[in-house]
């Protein structure tokens, strides 16, 4: 009896999902985006009456959910002018890929949703003027206000501070740990040099320690200058990652309809 039932159950089980699209939706909801893309592509290949734009948009959305932004861009590149959803997802994938120049080159009308990413890319390229913030809406305004709080550090000031008090320039550039360690690396050979000059009277050891002091002092000056000059870039990078997580449910989620 069991042997006869098995093929019947098996045949019924094949009909649980009426079409590829339903199965694709099931996979999408389960988070299996890779296989969802396979099903959607199968649908595009097999079914001539399928809504191409909708299916391509779903493929693009799946790629974005997988974090495969380059594939999403490649997929959406041919179709983004025909559908506003694909355009939004295309701009989103470009933004997540940090391809700001490409976003700027897109010709979008102001009524389209994808304009958000052009404004965002302008913010992150520091092209935004304070007078433009009047037109910004809710989330964008919040993002801009957060960006505007990131301060710039003067690298020459950092170098000057480090020249006077070794290590303090790095503290100024928000690297207190590095500053403490590098001040040790500068002061230790300096103290050793003083010891060999005054107490031990060893000339060779004195010159070696003075050389070490000079090398670490120069390294400290360069380090303070460099860490202050890349401070804004690093903080912007950190903020970029933060907003992508904070607004992942609204601004940075792809638009799609099954």
């Amino acid at each position: 009896m069991k042997n006869k039932l098995f093929p019947i159950i098996f045949l019924f089980s094949l009909n649980v999902f009426a079409g590829n699209m339903e199965f694709a939706q099931f996979l999408f909801n389960e988070g299996d985006y890779f296989r969802c893309v396979t099903e959607l592509k199968r649908e595009l290949y097999e079914n001539s009456s399928v809504d191409t734009l909708k299916t391509v948009n779903l493929i693009v959305s799946s790629y974005i959910m997988m974090g495969e932004n380059l594939k999403a861009i490649e997929e959406a590149d041919k179709f983004y002018k025909k559908s506003s959803d694909i355009e939004y997802n295309y701009a989103l994938a470009l933004f997540l890929d940090k391809n700001f120049s490409k976003i700027d080159s897109l010709n979008l009308s102001e009524s389209r949703d994808a304009v958000v990413f052009q404004e965002l890319s302008a913010v992150f390229q520091n092209k935004f003027k304070v007078s433009d913030t009047v037109n910004l809406k809710g989330e964008l305004k919040e993002i801009y206000q957060g960006y505007a709080k990131i301060k710039r550090k003067n690298p020459y000031l950092a170098m000057l501070i480090s020249a006077v008090v070794p290590g303090l320039g790095r503290v100024y550039a928000d690297r207190a740990g590095d500053g403490a360690f590098s001040s040790l690396t500068v002061l230790t050979p300096a103290l050793i040099a003083v010891y060999y000059r005054t107490i031990s009277k060893n000339d060779i050891a004195f010159y070696v320690s003075v050389g070490a002091f000079g090398a670490f002092y120069l390294g400290e000056l360069y380090g303070a200058f460099n860490s202050a000059s890349i401070y804004h870039k690093n903080k912007t990078e950190e903020y970029y990652k933060k907003i992508i997580i904070d607004y992942s449910a609204s601004l940075f989620s792809p638009k799609f309809v099954f």
Binding site: R175, G177, A215, E220, Y222, G223, E238
Partner: protein, 132 residues
């Protein structure tokens, strides 16, 4: 003094756990020996060959004694090596010293703040990627 320093180095190598595997099992040093693209020959038309040779001596003889201790990849000595090849002795050396000062207990706290990328390694869990 030189003799005592050499004795100390030889003793430290021989008492180290890694001395049998030296220098082939040493992170970046593996790259030096087995990666064809890596410049093994040290062919350099300038006087850079002197500091580069000193660095190479350190990498092959001294460094294996202390094992994998660097927080970054490429390691500090490789960083200075690459920086000298790229920017010349003066700036490369200063960049290398700066890197030595950054390679401290706090380096890992700055991941995702001042450093963005890292790579998983067997010995130290992960290392921060920082190229010259």
């Amino acid at each position: 003094m030189n003799f005592s320093l050499m004795l100390l180095i030889l003793l430290s190598i021989n008492t180290s756990d890694n001395y049998i595997e030296l220098p082939f099992d040493k992170g970046d040093t593996v790259e030096i020996y087995f990666n064809d693209k890596y410049d093994k020959t040290l062919i350099d038309n300038s006087l850079n060959i002197i500091p580069l040779s000193v660095l190479r001596f350190y990498q092959i003889i001294i460094s294996p004694a202390q094992g994998e201790v660097c927080n970054f990849t490429p390691s500090c000595s490789n960083y200075m090596f690459k920086a000298i090849r790229k920017y010349g002795f003066a700036l490369g050396f200063i960049k290398g010293i700066d890197r030595l000062q950054r390679c401290n207990l706090n380096a890992r706290d700055y991941l995702h703040v001042h450093y963005s990328d890292y790579v998983l390694t067997k010995e130290r869990g992960y290392k921060i990627i920082d190229n010259p």
